[in-house]
Subunit: 390 residues, 2 copies
């Protein structure tokens, strides 16, 4: 008789925020980038995706449920991940005929974020990392996180970096098949655990241009972009790896801010121009500059992805100076951790800048560097294959 | 007995708005640029500086009065202009001893703009062009406008382009002494008289960074700037001269918009970043894009100098489409010419964009391509050397 068992595995996966940005594809189908990038993995206590992968002969077809909503899996990216993972399971099964033929069974994936998508935080990175890691757990694949990053990359480029914790590089690689375009660990979170991040969630009309099409437009039309990918980013990658190795925050901060500026400059040089930052985003830059100036040293660094939210990195030892200064201005919005109100800063954000921030920031998220995907016994699918009541 | 005669000469000079931008000095003292630039001279009916230059043994020392206020002339820039012009007059006097020795007499300069400085329009270009032209008239110098542009350039770089009407190039030159860094006529206004400009004066806090220091910071810190000056601008200069020669508006417009984007991208890539445009400036870009899309062809082109004001070039034949669309949204602000209200556009500025413009634009200026400096009998100094009552 047929095997009606439901096989399950769950994992959590983190969000990562690049400090050397990924912008530009040399191969859109395989998500091969025009330059390497480097990111900090953020703590899953604050931002994480929980994903359960299950397979069973009782399921009718593959399915993916994201935050309670059935999601379209016909897209080439999701299909590529399913296909690649099944192929690797099939290889395992071929090597050991005693194993159940999970590669032939329908997949049911259920995934939930612990943060509002409304926050406009790139959730696709955590989402695809969790999907790949969960199915790899279900299939008991021997592949390393770096090998799995090849698969996650095909789901969403930056997802490849969310398979590791700490400080992670995505090496662009040079092969046409992309087999050398993968993520690798630069340093564990434990190497430099003092790294913190304050995210300012900025009110915005809908996103200016989706990243994928925006990247393509930049590659095709920006007269400055070649300089970024051939000169600016390679230099920033080297400097950033040195900064992480040496735990040199001033260097980390300068490269982070310069690379964010360079990325958004290339967006502005795109034709027609792409603008992800708004007046509130720019006010946050002025605030960081004011805090650093008043602190007499670099204690904070801003960076912006393809959106208006400001991610501000700082060290735990400077929490009072940095968090205190922003809480003084934004104490009324949600998201502060207990104790934020008690942090008194020696630095004051200039009045005009503060007014723009008050007007434009809707909430904050306080977090820090964290670990990579973690296998968990928390399941979003029951033993008999039903959605778990939560 | 001593000559107590007051010698006088007056001129008007125009504002110019670059379509290939000047940004970056290779020699700050001589105002030698890192790249060539090209501008459109705007009509003096709408924007002009009137300057009277006088000299007399009865004056006690050189003086300069700008818009009714005595101005500091001790600066190296103003002194350089006075010195260079006196040297040329001295040469003329040496060649013809019958001439009065004006080069030895104190200079009194009185200058007035017909537009509010509050408008934040670069008035230094028109100001120094008028100062140089007025003194050259007073001294009856034989120098050509191009030769005089060498002097105006030392007062304010972009001033060299305001010595001509129409379409004007500033050749960067290569000599260390800057003797080949001068303005030259690309085409008279009469070659392409249909060019119009609509200026949106945008509310702004004080200017982000003064141009001179901003340029220096960009040259020193932007990783993308070298690409602009070595690749992007030379290509844009060639394309723009072809566009003007062929009266090809679509080409003129694309190069204008791309070069403005490239310039502001380099400002954003400066460390710390320089932001001249704000959300209202960006909304004007979206408005121009919407108008062009709805018109089914390029009928408008935006460009931004070192400030948030939007200068929108268009052809007279498209006045209804372009001016009409903006008047529909900004009809309530000042500066519209008679008849603007009657222009009905087929294009509509999207609601969200319109709201940002309504909120951010304080007035408009309607103008077009115009002529260079004009000698005039309107004097700001009386025959006996006193300020003229006006």
């Amino acid at each position: 008789m047929a095997d009606t068992k439901v096989y399950r595995a769950s994992t959590t996966a983190p969000v990562n925020i690049a400090v050397v940005k990924y912008w530009g594809k040399r191969d859109a189908k395989l998500n091969l980038p025009t330059n390497s990038s480097l990111s900090v993995t953020l703590s899953q206590d604050d931002l994480r995706t929980l994903t359960t992968a299950a397979c069973s002969a009782t399921f009718d077809g593959d399915s993916l449920t994201l935050n309670g909503e059935l999601s379209d899996i016909s897209g080439a990216r999701t299909q590529a991940c399913f296909r690649e993972l099944r192929a690797r399971r099939a290889a395992v099964e071929a090597a050991n005929p005693a194993l159940p033929k999970l590669s032939t069974l329908p997949l049911k994936i259920v995934s939930e974020n612990n943060f509002p998508t409304a926050a406009g935080l790139a959730s696709s990175a955590a989402g695809f990392a969790a999907l790949v890691r969960a199915i790899a757990n279900l299939y008991e694949l021997p592949e390393s996180p770096s090998d799995l990053s090849l698969i996650a990359r095909q789901g969403s480029g930056s997802a490849c970096r969310s398979l590791f914790g700490g400080y992670v590089a995505w090496r662009m690689g040079s092969q046409d098949d992309g087999l050398d375009s993968k993520a690798e660990l630069v340093a564990e979170a434990s190497h430099w655990p003092q790294m913190r991040a304050l995210i300012l969630v900025v009110n915005a009309a809908k996103k200016d241009v989706p990243s994928t099409s925006g990247m393509q437009q930049t590659v095709a039309t920006s007269g400055l972009f070649q300089q970024r990918i051939t000169q600016v980013v390679p230099a920033n990658m080297t400097l950033m790896e040195e900064a992480v190795r040496d735990k040199d925050f001033a260097k980390f901060a300068e490269v982070t801010m310069r690379d964010s500026n360079s990325f958004h400059a290339c967006c502005a040089d795109t034709y027609p121009p792409i603008f992800y930052m708004n007046d509130a985003s720019r006010a946050a830059i002025r605030a960081v500059e004011a805090i650093n100036t008043q602190a007499g040293k670099t204690v904070a660094a801003y960076t912006y992805d393809a959106g208006p939210n400001s991610v501000i990195y700082f060290l735990e030892e400077d929490a009072a100076t940095v968090v205190g200064a922003f809480h003084e201005v934004l104490g009324a919005v949600g998201g502060w951790k207990d104790g934020a109100a008690t942090l008194k800063s020696s630095a004051k954000i200039p009045e005009q800048t503060a007014a723009i921030l008050k007007d434009g920031v809707s909430r904050v998220i306080q977090t820090g560097v964290g670990s990579g995907p973690v296998k968990t016994d928390e399941f979003l699918i029951t033993e008999d294959g039903q959605p778990a009541k939560r």
